[in-house]
């Protein structure tokens, strides 16, 4: 059973739809009580950093969430903003992130020349191929063809390169998936990435 946290900033419908299609049991949860018995957690999220962090704080789930993930080692998967929040801070806002994985969230930066020559627009929106940085249960099925759907203007910059799980190239190489122990995060949207996303969700469910 995967518990999908609803803290008011999520694409919950699409995550649940894909899990249902894969015959993976899941439920959308909103209370600390439900979270205290979760055996696997998905932290979704879209929108701006401060709004996301504030909503998560207001949800009253933070202390239980910290305990479940950091002490009980429950596997957690952050998606999009849900991945960014796993880090310490973001250029997009003032509030502090969860800080489970050391690192920051940076805005895409392109020189004017790069922007003109390569037509690099922000947000980075569309399908892009990824590269594994380490072999893990979540990346084992990936190959050269593996691609995911991205839509974001900010990206992770991990302090410790061992926490980079996958990278992607948009103007430059950036970290698009992060991992430390039982904590996983992906910038892209597996729930909207056809068979590639299904493979990743399945691997997470089987952890």
């Amino acid at each position: 059973m995967i518990s999908i946290i609803d803290y008011g900033v999520g694409n919950l419908g699409s995550v649940k739809n894909m899990l249902k299609f894969l015959n993976i049991e899941s439920k959308i949860i909103t209370t600390a009580e439900e979270l205290s018995t979760a055996t696997k957690i998905i932290l979704p999220g879209v929108g701006s950093w401060d709004n996301g962090v504030a909503k998560l704080t207001e949800s009253g789930l933070l202390s239980v969430l910290n305990k479940r993930v950091l002490s009980d080692k429950v596997p957690v998967l952050g998606i999009c903003l849900g991945m960014q929040i796993l880090l310490d801070a973001s250029e997009e806002g003032e509030l502090a992130g969860l800080g489970w994985i050391p690192g920051e969230v940076k805005k895409f930066y392109f020189t004017p020349e790069q922007q003109t020559a390569n037509k690099l627009r922000i947000p980075h929106m569309g399908w892009n191929v990824t590269h594994n940085k380490k072999q893990t249960a979540l990346t084992q099925l990936n190959d050269d063809e593996t691609r995911y759907y991205f839509v974001h203007s900010y990206h992770a910059e991990v302090a410790n390169k061992h926490h980079a799980l996958m990278t992607c190239n948009y103007g430059y190489e950036f970290t698009c998936a992060i991992h430390k122990d039982n904590i996983w995060g992906v910038q892209f949207h597996p729930e909207k990435s056809h068979k590639f996303g299904m493979a990743l969700m399945k691997s997470f469910a089987e952890l």
Binding site: G47, N51, H124, G126, W127, Y149, V151, K192, K195, M198
Partner: protein
């Protein structure tokens, strides 16, 4: 390398799927759920759905149909038509729609658009600009309400104005090319593309793979929407839900 997105653009009318020519002469082309299922199997990059009567006839958004569609759609879905309030945005996103497109709302309630951007982020709010080329004076006109209402903006002005509200992408729909299979209006697309920093999606006129290539290479479209090409065998031929193969697209696109 970011792939150039090529996406079917489907028109809903009631519970059916239709295709228009220059925003008129709707022709029934089938059941939307069935069509979406096929596009999902074909693993298309993204899907655009417009409910073409929702704004002009003051209809309500068909949430139950959209819910059915998104429940088996594992690619991003953009929906437009009849979106008026923040509650509409909230409901659509909770169903699993990734992007909500607005058109008349940009001009009539810009504050609602800006609020939606603040809540859901730029990437989720898309501006669709329906643009017609006037018959005699050959001037571009920005329109809303299925082309029936004209707005006093040039295409570039409207695009810049939409960006100032914070939208994350612009779909440029050339009414005079819609359903004609005669190629995109490259002049129009490149004008807008050169003046904004957000991705620009070219819609209206696709007939061949070369059309797709040209609008990307020469007019700098970031993505391409296909209407007739996705639902008809060929011009003036029968209905057939189809899509260019990924291998074909990879060959022609940068």
């Amino acid at each position: 390398m970011l792939r150039t997105r090529v996406m079917p653009c489907l028109l809903l009318q009631g519970r059916g799927l239709v295709k228009t020519v220059k925003f008129k002469n709707e022709r029934y082309v089938g059941d939307p759920i069935n069509a979406v299922r096929i596009f999902n199997q074909k693993e298309v990059d993204e899907l655009v759905l417009f409910d073409i009567n929702c704004t002009s006839d003051s209809g309500t958004i068909n949430y139950s149909l959209l819910e059915q569609i998104t429940s088996e759609c594992f690619m991003p879905v953009c929906y437009g038509g009849g979106v008026r309030t923040l509650e509409d945005f909230r409901k659509l996103f909770s169903l699993g729609i990734e992007k909500v497109s607005v058109s008349s709302l940009l001009f009539d309630s810009p504050d609602v658009v800006a609020q939606a951007v603040a809540i859901y982020g730029s990437q989720s709010i898309i501006a669709t600009l329906d643009i017609n080329l006037s018959k005699y004076r050959k001037k571009y006109q920005v329109c809303t309400h299925s082309g029936k209402q004209k707005r006093k903006y040039t295409p570039v002005e409207a695009a810049k104005y939409a960006c100032s509200l914070g939208v994350g992408e612009i779909i440029v729909n050339a009414i005079h090319r819609d359903g004609t299979w005669s190629g995109f209006d490259q002049e129009l697309i490149s004008q807008i593309s050169a003046n904004v920093n957000v991705p620009v999606v070219a819609a209206g006129g696709a007939g061949t793979l070369d059309d797709i290539k040209n609008v990307v290479v020469s007019a700098n479209a970031s993505a391409v929407a296909l209407g007739s090409m996705a639902v008809f065998q060929a011009k003036d031929m029968g209905v057939l839900i189809k899509f260019p193969k990924q291998t074909e697209l990879t060959k022609i696109l940068p």
